[in-house]
Subunit: 122 residues, 2 copies
DNA sequence: CTGTATCCGATTGGATACTG
DNA sequence: CAGTATCCAATCGGATACAG
């Protein structure tokens, strides 16, 4: 992990925190996956279901992103003793902390789209 | 721009908004640049100054990211009539809307780092 | 079903040299 | 100073085939 030493200029602590967040949640899919699992907290979310319902993601990416999220304790993986094997993914209590962040992303995106079409919504 | 048609399943509107945001603000540098310009709103921020002070960014990336942000009206570019030419970049009033989002990123990052080191800060 | 392994094209992004 | 142009390595990420 990075240390503060590299960012000692100015408001380095905030920059470091932002980079941490971007490292953990950045990229094309992670926040979308968290959003998916948060809004479907009370459903059974298998790998296949997620691959089908998260538009555009490939199995390879879904695996990788889920592993990363699991490593950071944001997502829980529960392998079922079925045949064939199924796996249930769920958001962790800690993972739900991202909900505020996600809501901000949604709000900003809606406002930006309105901005572009001329209807400013503040 | 994308349309809602492609995301008609479930809470498609929110997903679309998230993707919009990730498209406009996503990637390694854009939010860091906005943060830089917001916290230095009353300074004169030239290209060179930014290149020096935003740790790790290359001229190529800085140019590209600033162009993208300008296109989305988040950043203003003002070329000065000096010799040699200097350029001042500043956050736009609209660009300041990102401040809430950025603050969330900072908060999340700080909390996550505390989480990893055992000190949970909620 | 839930992945892994491999191939391979597309994209990212740094280094360097150069222009106005 | 503020970029642009070029080269090139590394990574991303889709498609496909295969394994447990």
């Amino acid at each position: 992990m990075k240390t503060l030493e590299n960012y000692s200029t100015d408001c380095g602590i905030n920059l470091l925190a932002m980079r941490d967040t971007l490292d953990v949640l950045g990229g094309k899919w992670k926040l979308l996956i968290l959003h998916y699992l948060i809004t479907r907290e009370h459903e059974i979310n298998t790998f296949k279901k997620m691959e089908r319902e998260i538009t555009g993601i490939s199995a390879k990416m879904l695996t990788k992103e889920l592993r990363d999220l699991e490593t950071n304790k944001l997502v829980h993986r529960a392998q079922q003793d079925t045949r064939p094997i199924t796996v249930r993914y769920s958001i962790t209590p800690y993972g739900k902390n991202a909900e505020i962040l996600i809501q901000q992303l949604v709000t900003w995106g809606k406002n930006h789209r309105a901005q572009l079409t001329g209807k400013v919504v503040l």
